[in-house]
Symmetry: C2
Subunit: 323 residues, 2 copies
């Protein structure tokens, strides 16, 4: 079996074992629930893979779990703030329970994440905490920018890219740097891992934006056009608003503000305006720039060659989803 596959299984098993938390059940049931909803376990898997570029993955196991718990904490609290009803085809915690439960169980998860991070070997604990603290606060900053962007029509492409860097990319970069530190990688290699993770995170998010409009429903798994129906400020929408000439921009704003419409009509009209603005090409160019640069940095790392190849194949596969 590929090592990355194995890491995924190990993470899933360990997540199950975290479930042993006790009373009050009202606090811990929602924690078990959201952690059991699955997901790709992308961040802890990349953390373990990064560690094993230089040494044993085992020193990174608890911190990798901490990163996954942290990631799920952000999903839990973001879902309250965004009033999302569904997460991974299941009701969100604040829907299944209530807002107060979701707030407090999320808080408990953030503390639990730190508890797991704290199990890093003491020799590297300060470095691991430094990366994690910085990353965690940046993820909050990213969520704040995201919420602010939803309330304004005045977002630039650069502003959007900076938001997704904070909200999404830094945690992937941080996961890999923490893995590298725990595996015993050099400063230089850990910095390269961070850059790799940051760029690959940017590429993944841009790809997600693109798939929502231009993806293939069968393979994408999510409904095509849901970002359009939700007026979500993706790279495509922001870029189109900045690039369309006056009449077309007015038409796009008209669709955004319209209260009653047929779903497929809105999706078709907005998609056509995206095509007119040429924003698919702009996105693809940026996405591929990030992806290419990430692989260049991966190539520069002095680590186990086979593991590097596995990581490269793994991110290639993730990028290729239904393109």
């Amino acid at each position: 079996m590929l090592k990355i596959e194995e890491y995924r299984q190990i993470i899933d098993e360990q997540i199950q074992m975290l479930g042993g938390m006790k009373r009050p059940e009202g606090l811990y049931d929602p924690v078990r629930y959201i952690l059991s909803l699955g997901g790709k376990r992308l961040r802890p898997v990349l953390c373990l893979a990064s560690a094993s570029l230089f040494g044993e993955y085992s020193a990174a196991l608890m911190p990798a779990l901490g990163i996954e718990v942290f990631h799920n904490f952000t999903l839990l609290h973001d879902d309250i703030m965004d009033q999302s009803d569904v997460r991974r085809n299941h009701p969100t915690v604040h829907k299944k329970w209530d807002n107060n439960t979701a707030i407090l169980s999320g808080d408990a998860m953030l503390i639990k994440a730190y508890e797991l991070i704290s199990k890093s070997p003491v020799g590297v604990l300060p470095q691991v905490l430094e990366v994690f603290n910085k990353t965690a606060i940046e993820v909050c900053e990213g969520q704040q920018f995201d919420m602010e962007f939803e309330k304004t029509s005045d977002v630039t492409e650069e502003g959007y890219l900076d938001m997704i860097r904070l909200k999404t990319a830094v945690l992937i970069g941080g996961s890999m740097k923490i893995g590298g530190i725990l595996g015993g990688g050099s400063l230089r290699d850990c910095a390269l891992l961070y850059k790799f993770g940051l760029d690959i995170g940017m590429a993944f998010q841009l790809q997600d934006d693109w798939l929502d409009v231009f993806g293939d429903q069968e393979t994408f798994g999510k409904k095509i056009g849901s970002d359009i129906l939700n007026n979500k400020k993706t790279f495509l929408l922001i870029s189109a608003l900045n690039r369309l000439e006056k009449a077309s921009k007015k038409e796009l704003l008209h669709w955004i503000n319209r209260k009653e419409y047929e779903a497929h009509e809105k999706i078709n009209a907005v998609t056509r305006l995206f095509q007119e603005a040429g924003v698919s090409e702009v996105l693809i160019q940026k996405r591929d720039d990030y992806f290419t640069r990430s692989l260049e940095n991966l190539g520069k790392i002095n680590g186990d060659h086979e593991m590097k190849q596995e990581i490269e194949n793994f991110v290639h596969k993730l990028m290729a989803r239904s393109r």
Copy 2:
């Protein structure tokens, strides 16, 4: 000047300096706001005092600030959950801004707290984190029990005492133990500091419950009887519900369930029922037991004699508020 007074000033100055956090302002303005509302700074002051029982307080400064930031994070999120409009005579964060802001700024404060805790000298960092992680999760458990208690009429005195132990007392115990560790205290002395803080925290909370009903408005600062008007499950109410005979218990429940009433009438009636049940005496007995035991443990600590005396005078003064 007394050292404890000096610590309070140092903490206030340092809290001001934390205000240098940058964009997004929407995330950090509420953090600065709640931290500027003041308060006794009880936990960080006791943390510094505990450190200086054995050594310099300076090693404990950043972690002490972290504990104060953590405490304010719990207030911020609790105020959302309890739908409280006022905190220290000012609008709460979720009132002044909104729920989403209060959730996310609270999350950022919890991370900021860990950032400050992480500045502990590396030699004791794992021990400090262990105490802090355990304490932080217990505070969440306490808040969960508190919320559950508000929804049931079936709470025992023991259940209530366990709830306030988790919600309030462990953080005072934890603050002192962390201070002791950072000051270089022995295992035995740090354990005694924890016990002292735990018991003094229990005594403070019971005293708060008592003052709300039997305190002197001038010196207490808060309106007398507000817990009664809010049907708050304090020790007095829980104890009365468990101790009153049938007819009087029915009368008490009647006042709890009544929707329309004159405030002073309800306060007088419930206070009379508390007196009938003898719960003031029960509370005072328990409070004094905790207080006496805390001082016994303080006495057993091998630390600077003057500092011990200052701590003893300090907690005496806090207990004596308007008795």
